[in-house]
């Protein structure tokens, strides 16, 4: 085994394929955080008073909080005064009206990433709201969506055009007091996506956003808000790649989903931010708060995530099952290689009658990677007939990695049924040998076996995304056999 470890270790040296730096002029506020900075951000965006007030309340609350340290992740202290809280690519005063008006440098960036925006948008029928750093620079297919009454725009635009919707729903799932990073986000969020599907409307295309982190030392504080009104349906895709960087970057996004009666939201993420180099230097700190609220009866929210990037991932996409018969789902693949750390999972909070939830988590640890599933299934007294099924599997590739499972199960209703199963095992040597004896290269065999391990999750992704996810997995994994 020792010899194969050495040989395979060589294969781990896969460099980050999406690493490069784009020079775009940015309009940046000074480093550090204060009420003045928040007022400046709000003023730059021309926000209404209610939003500024909300930001300030969040900031004042944040000042009373301490950075959490309960997750099984380790990182040097973050200096919150050494972060630039706002930067926007410079462009024409009124912003681009179409792709033609978009800075060609940006478009070239997307091309390098293999994300030819217009082609992808046209060919796949996907409306893309691309966020480059903090401000949305391109939107497509808006007219078609608008015809159905669907609002899909940048958060800033939603604040301008639909302040009543923003005011009604912002912070209603993740209050500004929720946790340290959510409070920080509430105070300083720069932009993000907003989506509203009116009653009875089925959104005819996958909505998608490519987030990127670019400008040096710019924390990213995205805010996404999706509302599916009664009987509406929407499938939303979030995908990320980031250029290679030297210094750690903080990313503290907040995503809020609201599903009213009979509505359904599917939210899928492929996250491939810069994970740091082989020695564990650099990489993104990804501290995200994602939560959905099944507010109405028979509503459904599904989270699907493929997390291969970031130096540290800390996120628990959750569902509050308020409405009777509501359904929550969480499907996750998290891969950590080199010195990556992931502490991820979900919370399923059963409040309504006959609410159901399914959790399927696949963790893969390679190199010195550390991967933890942390989940909470809570059945309140009111949740008569609630059901949960949880399965967490961990796959270990290498004898220096770590895999942890921390499921919390709290049940207060005797009619509930909760089942949790977890397993941890190493990649089968016999499986590898079998593949190799059939002429398959070791790294392909690993990739194949890992894909098989993750299949149940991938099948929850839209086809095109599944292909991309599988590719990412292969890239992130190359050579990592222990």
């Amino acid at each position: 085994m020792a010899s194969s470890t050495v040989k395979l270790d060589e294969l781990i040296s896969q460099e980050y394929k999406h690493g490069f730096f784009t020079s775009v002029e940015t309009d940046t506020v000074p480093r550090g955080l204060s009420e003045d900075v928040i007022r400046l951000i709000s003023a730059k965006k021309g926000e209404p008073d209610f939003l500024l007030e909300w930001r300030l309340k969040a900031y004042r609350h944040w000042l009373t909080m301490a950075e959490p340290h309960w997750a099984t992740v380790h990182h040097p202290a973050i200096d919150y005064q050494d972060i630039t809280y706002y930067s926007a690519p410079k462009s024409r005063q009124d912003g681009p009206k179409s792709l033609d008006e978009v800075d060609p440098e940006l478009l070239r960036t997307y091309e390098k990433l293999g994300v030819p925006l217009e082609e992808r948008a046209l060919l796949a029928g996907v409306a893309v709201d691309a966020v480059f750093d903090s401000v949305s620079v391109a939107t497509t297919f808006k007219d078609k969506l608008a015809g159905l009454g669907i609002i899909f725009c940048s958060f800033s635009e939603a604040v301008r055009e639909h302040p009543e919707l923003v005011r009604q729903y912002l912070g209603s799932v993740v209050p500004y007091t929720d946790n340290f990073f959510a409070s920080l986000n509430s105070a300083v969020f720069s932009d993000g996506s907003f989506c509203y599907i009116p009653p009875g409307v089925r959104c005819p295309m996958e909505l998608s956003t490519y987030f990127r982190i670019n400008a040096r030392n710019t924390g990213q504080f995205e805010r996404t808000l999706i509302i599916a009104d009664k009987g509406a349906y929407v499938s939303y895709l979030e995908g990320c790649t980031a250029p290679m960087r030297d210094e750690n970057q903080l990313h503290a996004a907040v995503v809020e989903l609201i599903a009213l009666e009979d509505a359904q939201i599917k939210y899928a993420t492929v996250q491939n931010w810069y994970p740091g180099d082989k020695e564990g230097h650099g990489g993104i700190y990804n501290f995200v708060t994602k939560r959905g609220d099944c507010r109405g009866a028979n509503s459904k929210i599904s989270w699907t995530q493929v997390e291969t990037g970031s130096a540290i991932t800390w996120k628990y996409p959750s569902v509050i099952l308020q409405g009777d018969n509501a359904v929550g789902e969480f499907y996750s693949v998290a891969l950590t290689n080199h010195y990556q750390q992931a502490d991820t999972g979900t919370k399923m909070i059963h409040l309504g009658k006959n609410t159901r939830s399914t959790i399927l988590s696949k963790g893969i640890s390679a190199g010195h990677g550390s991967n933890a599933y942390r989940g909470l299934v809570k059945v309140a007294k009111s949740a008569v007939g609630a059901r949960n099924y949880t399965q967490c599997d961990s796959l270990l590739l290498g004898d220096r990695c770590a895999a942890h499972t921390f499921p919390y199960i709290e049940v207060k209703n005797p009619t509930a049924r909760v089942e949790h199963e977890a397993s941890t095992s190493r990649i089968g040597e016999d499986q590898l040998f079998y593949c190799q004896s059939r002429g398959i290269a070791p790294e392909d065999a690993v990739s194949m076996i890992v894909s098989g391990f993750c299949k149940e999750v991938f099948k929850e992704l839209p086809m095109e995304f599944a292909v991309e996810a599988q590719k990412l997995l292969g890239v992130s994994l190359e050579g990592s056999i222990g």
């Binding site: 499972t405 049924r417 977890a422 941890t424």
Partner: protein, 438 residues
């Protein structure tokens, strides 16, 4: 009211000279270290992850007093009902050994079985490491208090190769409310030896008291030790128990914990598979009703390769009771070929019962096989229907299936008198009609 730290400091000052071994400097230092540690940490709080579901505020407020060292006048007849046939019996009343009620028969050569208080002076060499000041922190304020205040317990030493065929029955009896009892058991099983212990906690009357017990066990190379525990404290009692096990190469250890009594019960079991090819089995059953709160925390450290652990806990919760299960399995770096399995199954019988379960795997080695599972639910409706289709009425069918659910755990006990005792206790919870069937 003064602080808990002040209270226990005063208590210590009041009774320190009456505690066993007070003339031994190393032990005095050990006790003082425990007291100092408690003064620093105090009782655990809900803010501590390991105590997030179990509040011990009521213990802190109760200000239980250390019992006087004098005899307490319990007659052997009062406790005979708890006796188990075919055992070596050591009885501890209010934390002190009672030779009059005990019954230690002939022992094989190489077995030392005695009250810890009696052997402190003689066995200093072996005991200093366990009872003297320690360098690592105490796992909780209770462990620190136990270190400061322990009044007695069992000392069992098995020389290499010795098999003690007769199980040892340790009967801890509390006779009065208001007492704080700290007992400590030390067991050393040398290479290739074998023994079975039954730790049994009971009370005369239904008063509130604190029973804080700690057992320290070393299972030597290829040795085999079984630790059975039956907790039948009063329903107002606070029962806190710790079991620390150090397993050597090829050793086997079995723990079976049955928690039926106590108002608030907390059991911590920590097993270290500290050498290759060690294996352990941890079984447990908690049955709660009324306002009982029973918390089991177990931790298995696979520290060396080729360790095997099997853990199976079941719970039956009625009334407004609450149970907590936290099973932690840690496979350390280089503990390759570890094999761990853990399951926790719970039946909720009432609208007001609550279960909080958290099976936990932490793995730092790659060549391992680890699985765990936890379920919370009700009786299988198909099983209920099957019994009803054979003419058994619904309430009886449910009672019978509940009994069967719990009896799976008692069925795993080899020691017949204890198994029979437990089955009788479980049957006692069944309606009369169903009892006749079983």
């Amino acid at each position: 009211m003064n602080s808990a730290a002040d209270f226990y400091r005063d208590e210590f000052a009041r009774i320190a000279t009456t505690l066993p071994g007070s003339a031994l400097p190393w032990l005095r230092h050990g006790r003082e270290a425990g007291l100092a540690c408690f003064a620093e940490t105090g009782f655990p709080t809900l803010r501590q992850e390991d105590w997030k579901y179990t509040s011990v505020a009521a213990i802190e407020k109760s200000r239980f007093l250390s019992p006087p060292p004098t005899a307490n006048g319990v007659a052997p007849g009062q406790i005979d009902a708890w006796g188990l046939a075919g055992t070596q019996r050591l009885v501890f009343v209010n934390g002190r050994y009672q030779p009059r009620c005990s019954n230690i028969g002939a022992l094989p050569a190489g077995v030392t079985l005695a009250s810890l208080a009696e052997v402190l002076g003689r066995e200093s060499e072996r005991l200093e490491g366990v009872l003297g000041p320690r360098s690592d922190p105490y796992p909780s304020g209770f462990a620190a208090l136990n270190q400061a205040f322990f009044s007695d317990g069992v000392y069992l030493h098995l020389a290499a190769g010795v098999a003690l065929e007769t199980p040892v029955h340790l009967l801890f009896v509390t006779t009065e409310p208001g007492l704080a009892l700290h007992t400590r058991n030390v067991v050393r099983a040398e290479a290739g030896s074998r023994a079975c212990l039954i730790e049994h906690h009971v009370a005369l009357g239904d008063g509130a008291y604190l029973s804080n017990t700690a057992t320290d066990l070393v299972v030597g190379r290829d040795a085999e030790v079984e630790h059975l525990k039956l907790q039948q404290e009063s329903l107002k009692a606070f029962h806190v128990a710790a079991l620390d096990v150090d397993q050597q190469q090829g050793s086997r250890f079995v723990s079976r914990s049955f928690a039926l009594g106590g108002g608030l019960g907390r059991v911590d079991i920590r097993v270290g598979l500290n050498a290759e090819h060690a294996s352990c089995t941890l079984d447990g059953l908690y049955m709660t009703d009324g306002r009982q709160h029973i918390d089991h925390h177990t931790r298995i450290d696979h520290a060396q390769p080729y360790g095997t652990s099997r853990e199976f806990y079941k719970g039956v919760l009625a009334g407004a009771s609450r149970a907590v299960f936290n099973g932690r399995v840690i496979v350390h770096a280089d503990a390759q070929h570890s094999d761990a399995y853990q399951a926790n199954r719970n039946l909720l019988l009432s609208d007001n019962a609550e279960i909080d379960t958290k099976p936990q795997l932490e793995i730092y080695a790659d060549d391992v096989k680890c699985r765990h599972g936890a379920t919370v639910g009700q009786l299988d409706p198909e099983q209920v229907f099957y019994l009803r289709s054979r003419g058994v009425d619904e309430a009886d069918a449910r009672a019978l299936l509940t009994f069967a659910f719990a009896a799976e755990m008692t069925g795993r006990i080899d020691m017949a008198p204890l198994r029979a005792r437990l089955e009788k206790l479980l049957l006692g919870r069944l309606p009369e009609r169903v009892k006749e069937l079983v």
